[in-house]
């Protein structure tokens, strides 16, 4: 994917994510963030890891697109190094936006369970 195409896609994705139009999920086994596009079920995946650069470990973000059959269409890797800071920042904005939305959703689901445990513990102490 050429840089203009990539920037344009990420910009649209960021807008759609902020507008809550996309349903991102976290893949617990690999800690990936991904969402599936209907109707063809193609999948977009965001992944964060580190790469060695000389004696440092720099954060990197990976954005991959898969077909419905799981075939890789394209993959972009950008790391927080001096020569690609701008492109990394675009990807980072998307990653952190998605991460925040997914975490909020997860917190909403776990809140009643945590409250239930807290109440049970209170009852145990009182009883």
């Amino acid at each position: 994917m050429s840089t203009p195409d990539y920037k344009s896609l990420l910009s649209v994705l960021l807008d759609a994510t902020k507008a809550n139009k996309l349903s991102w999920q976290r893949e617990l086994t690999n800690s990936y963030l991904y969402f599936s596009l209907t109707p063809d079920n193609s999948k977009m995946l965001l992944d964060k890891y580190f790469a060695q650069e000389e004696d440092k470990e720099i954060p990197c973000l990976n954005f991959s697109i898969f077909t419905g059959e799981g075939k890789l269409v394209d993959e972009i890797v950008r790391c927080d190094s001096s020569d690609e800071t701008e492109e990394y920042n675009i990807l980072r904005d998307l990653y952190f936006t998605v991460d925040e939305i997914v975490s909020t959703e997860e917190n909403k689901k776990s809140a009643p369970i945590i409250n239930g445990i807290t109440e049970s513990l209170h009852k145990m102490i009182a009883g």
Binding site: Y49, F50, A51, Q52, E53, K71, V77, C79
Partner: protein, 207 residues
């Protein structure tokens, strides 16, 4: 031994019966062809229906014996063929187990590539050493096959080509120390394709 003799005896009886029936049918046809009332005397030689059947029986039995003797392989040929067959089957079984091992190694390294939190020289070194090991194993299958029969029992050429391409890609990243350009999804997708190629290679092996 007894079942073998019993089998031979049954086979022999069936052959006798088939020859007898064929002789009678052929005699009937011959007698029909030359009129039923044919009756020739050559001094002591008399041609009647029973003699025709016996004569045809002898001729068919003789021809069948000659054919079976010609088809019978010498003991040495038979031994040679059996040894070759056993070696081929052993090679195929061994290759199936070797390919399963290679696939398991590749799956392990693919999962490591996808899940390792840090792309560094250690990860690349692990990947490259796994690929060196599996390349040697795939190449050794071809060498063993060439030494065995020279026949193309198993063709893993596609797997080897794809394998070399992935190894070169990994070596390039390692040599240039360009760990930040490591595309983990793309490399693991190539490894998946390699595993599929190896499975195709495996599926062609019949024992």
């Amino acid at each position: 031994m007894i079942p073998f003799l019993r089998r031979t005896w049954v086979k022999f009886s069936i052959q006798l019966l088939v020859i007898a029936v064929t002789s009678i049918v052929l005699s009937l046809l011959l007698w029909k062809w030359f009129d039923e009332d044919i009756y020739v005397h050559f001094g002591t030689l008399e041609i009647n229906f029973f003699n025709t059947v016996c004569g045809l029986f002898t001729i068919i039995a003789l021809l069948l014996t000659i054919y079976q003797l010609a088809a019978l392989k010498s003991r040495k040929d038979f031994q040679k063929e059996t040894i070759a067959q056993t070696e081929t089957n052993t090679f195929k079984k061994m290759t199936l187990s070797t390919l399963a091992g290679i696939k398991a190694d590749l799956m392990t390294i693919r999962d490591k590539i996808l899940r390792h939190p840090l792309i560094d020289d250690q990860l690349l070194s692990d990947c490259i050493s796994t690929f060196y090991k599996t390349e040697t194993t795939i190449s050794s299958i071809k060498i063993q096959q060439d030494n065995l029969t020279g026949n193309n029992l198993i063709d893993c050429t596609n797997s080897l080509t794809l394998h070399q391409a992935i190894l070169q890609r990994l070596q390039k990243i390692d040599t240039e120390k360009s760990y930040k350009k490591f595309q983990r999804q793309s490399i693991s997708s190539d490894i998946n394709q390699l595993i599929t190629e190896l499975s195709n290679c495996e599926s062609k092996i019949t024992i």
